[in-house]
């Protein structure tokens, strides 16, 4: 003897973006704060030391923002022309920046005037950075040269003129104090060692290099240029590990998250893509209003700051962790209620009667079990079920139809209930997964309530809405069929005469896919 089988609710797999741990994590940011700068934001750098201020380089100024401030807490504006690449030192106390006139300036974060000024470049300096020993600065300029400066003496240590085009990006190794890399528009990335007179390694990226990044371990190098992000193994002599092509415009900036597990890339196509550094697959992506020039992530991923070409700074803060206090407050039953009677061991002569397992049925299932069709339909027409889980409502309707009692369940309802029913049908009838059932339901409702049309304004309005919804859907389907026809002719032109039959099948396959897409 079988037990009652509950109604099977057809769960429809959600197409498109799948909810993963990553999507949940990266969605956990508040709505962005927009700050207007004076020009295109070419660099954002977070201070490595608390309270994690960040320096934003835009036009001829460097603004320093606090964590939650929307106004700059400090401004360096002693530049005659555009400033570039304001970068913090490891301890967060010094700031270096390049400028349009070819000088590199070193600032104390608390001071105003530059502590040192390094002259030597003849063209604008677009990239500066501190080596990890804290006492040297490297820079790259539009004069194709990469220089190394000594901070205490403000003198040039060495100058490498190996690039054959503008040097626009660079990065210092955190492991080795003598190693830094620069990327140039001559499509190469060069690795320099301050102890040698020439570059140690040259990597051919294939496109003008816009951004380079070294992993904290120093073993992997990421370069971005053109539409590509490429990952290289430095220790294997610059072997290409993976090439990512997920943007459809030039990739302008790269950034690693605090754990080093995710790589972020920003591009002129207005997207920030987040890659897993193990699989190098895109795990999430952000959309922005305009092309992205710079990108930075604060320690612990608390803040994402993105700078745009139109000078807008977009700041996203992470939502505070929600603590579910309600559940904590709820008093749990005492431990002894759980173990009550459980530890009792039956004696040998005892006659054991096991407690029957109680099956929990939903309300509509209970009513369906008792063949109370009308009440079962009422149960699933309640707003919480109808609005949030329409598939349950439709499944019960289908079950009633299967039992042949749908008509009687739909009949004999008052104005309010008919209104409710029609609202549901009119809204959901165009959803492909519900269409077959709801068309039947709509047919039946029109049949049943045909004689009373015109007696209630509310119901009449709902009928009109239903008609409108169906009419729209029909037009839409017709349009889609037209598109399909066009595509079929296009495919037909590709067909070679030789293997007609095969191609015919292939085009069928394509139509199948299109139809599938349309269905969902």
């Amino acid at each position: 003897m079988a037990a009652y089988k509950p109604v099977v609710v057809q769960a429809c797999p959600k197409l498109g973006e799948r909810i993963t741990q990553d999507t949940l994590y990266w969605r956990g940011y508040k709505t962005p704060v927009q700050i207007k700068e004076f020009g295109a934001v070419n660099k954002i750098d977070f201070s490595p030391a608390p309270p994690y201020n960040y320096a934003v380089t835009a036009s001829s100024r460097i603004h320093i923002y606090g964590r939650y401030s929307q106004e700059p807490i400090k401004t360096f504006s002693r530049f005659r022309d555009a400033a570039y690449c304001a970068t913090y030192r490891d301890d967060g106390r010094l700031l270096a920046a390049g400028s349009e006139d070819g000088s590199v300036c070193l600032f104390d974060v608390s001071g105003k005037a530059p502590l040192r000024q390094f002259e030597g470049h003849t063209k604008p300096v677009h990239v500066v950075g501190f080596l990890s020993d804290k006492y040297r600065i490297f820079s790259g300029g539009d004069d194709y040269s990469s220089n190394l400066w000594d901070i205490p003496s403000a003198t040039e240590i060495i100058s490498y003129s190996e690039h054959t085009d503008y040097v626009r990006c660079g990065c210092a190794s955190k492991v080795n104090a003598d190693v830094f890399i620069t990327g140039s528009y001559d499509h190469t990335v060069k690795l320099f060692d301050a102890r040698t007179k020439s570059s140690v390694m040259t990597i051919e990226h294939g496109h003008p290099v816009e951004s380079v990044l070294l992993f904290p371990s120093g073993g992997l190098l990421v370069s971005a240029g053109g539409r590509y992000v490429k990952v290289w193994d430095v220790l294997k002599g610059g072997q290409l590990l993976v090439s990512l092509k997920n943007h459809h415009k030039t990739v302008t900036c790269l950034c690693l998250n605090s754990s080093g597990q995710r790589l972020l890339s920003g591009s002129l196509d207005r997207h920030v893509k987040i890659y897993s550094t193990t699989s190098y697959k895109v795990v999430h992506s952000f959309n922005y209003a305009t092309s992205i020039l710079s990108l930075a992530l604060s320690p612990e991923d608390e803040t994402i700051v993105v700078g745009m070409t139109n000078g807008v700074l977009n700041v996203k803060h992470r939502k505070p962790e929600e603590k579910n206090e309600n559940s904590q407050k709820k008093r749990q039953p005492a431990y002894r209620t759980y173990v009550k009677g459980r530890t009792y061991m039956p004696k040998q002569e005892d006659f054991c009667v096991s407690k029957p397992v109680k099956r929990v049925l939903r309300k509509y299932d209970k009513l369906l079990r008792g063949f109370q069709s009308s009440k079962a339909l009422d149960a699933v027409l309640e707003p919480p079920i109808m609005l949030h889980t329409p598939e349950v409502t439709v499944a019960v309707m289908q079950e009633l139809h299967r039992r042949g009692t749908l008509r009687s369940a739909l009949a004999g309802r008052d104005e309010k209930q008919v209104n409710l029913l029609l609202t549901f049908v009119a809204r959901r009838v165009i959803e492909p997964r519900f269409t077959p059932v709801l068309v039947t339901v709509a047919d039946m409702i029109t049949d049943i309530y045909q004689p009373v049309v015109g007696q209630s304004a509310i119901v009449d309005r709902q009928f009109l809405k239903l008609q409108e919804a169906i009419g729209k859907e029909i037009d839409y389907q017709e349009e889609l069929l037209e598109v399909l026809g066009m595509m079929d002719t296009l495919f037909a032109t590709f067909t070679k005469k030789k293997d007609t039959c095969l191609e015919e099948n292939k085009s069928n396959g394509v139509t199948e896919i299109i139809e599938k897409n349309r269905n969902y």
């Binding site: 003897m1 089988k5 369906l368 079990r369 099948n505």
Partner: protein, 756 residues
Amino acid sequence: SSSLDGTIKLWDFMDGIPIKTFTVGCKLLALYTLASAEDSVFVVIPKKGERDTFQLISVKLTKGAGQELEGKELSVVLDGVGASMKHIAFGREGAYVVSVKDVNLQVYFFKRKLLNRFSLSTIKTKGGDNRFSCVVCHPTEDCIATGHADGKIRLWRNFHHKKDYTYSTLHWHHDIVMDLAFSMEGTRLLSGGVESVLVQWHNESSCQKDFLPRLGSPIEYISMASDGSLCCTVHTDNRITIINSNLRFSRSIQGLIKSRDVKTGLVVDPRTKALVLNGEPGHLQFYSLQSDQQLFSLDIVQRQYIHEAGLKQSDLVKVAFSARGTWLATVEESEEVADPELQLKLWFYHEEAQSFVLNTRINTPHDNHITDMCFRDMDEQGDDSLILVTTGRDCVFKVWVMVEDSDPEALQNVSWSCDFVGSYHNYQATNCCFSEDGSLLAVSFEETVTVWDSLTWDLKCTFCHPPGNIRKICFGRLTCSKYLIGATDYGFLCCWNLLTCALEWSAHLNVVVLQPDPLSEHIAAVSWLSKESSLFVFKPNEPRPIYIQRNVCKEKILLAAFVPRDEPEMISSEKYLWLRKSQLFFLTDTQELITLSTKSLEERLTPSSKQLAVEESIPMTPFSLLLGKHRRQQAQEDMDLGKPVVLTKQEQASPAVKELLHTPAHVLPSASFLCTIFINSLLISKENKSAEEVADEVEMESEKAEDDSDEEDVTAMEQEDTSHMELLGEMTCKLSKSQEKELRKIRKMDYSWISA
């Protein structure tokens, strides 16, 4: 028991032996016995000269000696009764008899010889149909309960008077009441019908009732045990359910479940070698052929089945197993013609749960009915090569493949999705079949068979044999793998050569079933011509059939299946050599399962019945344990000696023991007399002499038994005689042992030649 051949048999139901046979001489449709009248029975017979009228007569069972007797004293009790068993009931202590037919109720009082007739109005109120369907009588009171076709139950009282009778109505069933039963005290009334709900009415009031719902299938009969502790229901699907008196389900007895329509075909589960077909509605039954038991029933549709006439139910229509039985594909559809509501489900065999677990469900895999489905059978390779092909009436065939889910957090790592859709000139696809190595797929589109490469899905070639659509296709196997066999509607069986792409041969045969043997190159074809089914077994490489069996059965054979044997059977006759590796089963349109046996009828029946008798009669006593141990030892010894077949020897060794166990204890001679025979029989005879001795002794014993047997032991004696005869036959065999050895050698030679 009574039967249509006009005999009544009296059985000893403990031993299963008929004691007496009474010949009445006309068709007996129903039989009733009364506790109060032991020497007579009541039977329903058709009235002479009139069709569709039946009468109840009483037959006096005379106490004559001998087995064959004639029931002579016939007397008509009631005229114009219903033919069904349920239409007549006997009242309290046999005081009266009630019979119903259509809307008439007759009560006949034996003592007063009074006949009362009542009839209900024939006007059908509210579309109801108030014809009688069954009748029962209260065990202690003068009360009759009748069931009606419109689901009502009427309780009649006071029917001694023609006018002043009363009745009350109980109504719960929405369709015909199939059977009723009163409890022993008469306080409870059980009723059942199509709803497959057992209803218990208390004290004849309609407000107090209990239900036992969802019994699985419509209830045909209800019966109460004489002590009232149990009740059992017989269902339309060949099942008996035993229910406790407090309406608790106790257990069910079931073999092959009869389903409304076997749409799935006969499929063999590669894992259990069980036959798989439709069972309960929406279920798949796994029926073990060896044990005649249902192994388990897999719920495929997973919906509450509503037992109501006229509902469009969805049921299972197609089933396919992968080669190793790890995957199961099922197709279910509702009965609606316009919108079949198709679902394709793929199940994975879960080793821990020991059952199939749903892996993927595909809604509407085709736009119209699915006509065929098959897996690519590739045994040696892993599951990666697994491909499922479905053909549909929407003019396409679809190829489904397993895809691994990239997301590591997903619940299951594989799922199925569509890989390729193929069509051929917009013809309906009707059948599909993979070649043995899985490289070719044959799909039939109406009149044409298309052959596709299963790697690139290129159309390789087409075959056609107009006129007539292709009904069945299959590839040849093993040495005949280059042939493709097809059967058409127009009564042609065609064999195409795949290498030359030409027709090899064709035969005029109206094939309804075409079934290849998975373990050999044989193919069985069942034809249906002028009300008889014939079986043809052939190899694709020669048009002449190996085996022909005309008129396998009168019913139309709808399905067939080859079930692989556990080990190849030794078959002596050349005729049945094709049955060596697998056994052929048929299912007819009346849902009878038929198999072809290689042995003759006697050969088949005797050992099994003997075995049964022995096994049943041996209680587990220390003695039997000893005997069993002894037998095992003997068998082991034989094994050690390396003798090929030991069965005959074993049987010879214990005729005396069998006799001892067969004969009832009270007719046996004294134990001291039997002792020597018994001991002798336990000795392993080296010389042939001892067997002779044993035979002599058995003869003596049987003589003795004859002496002190009374008439009751006729049957027992007969049995002894037959066994004696057998023994003699065996003995002669044994005497010429050298000859037998020769024979065996010849047989062996035969085998080797055939297998070569």
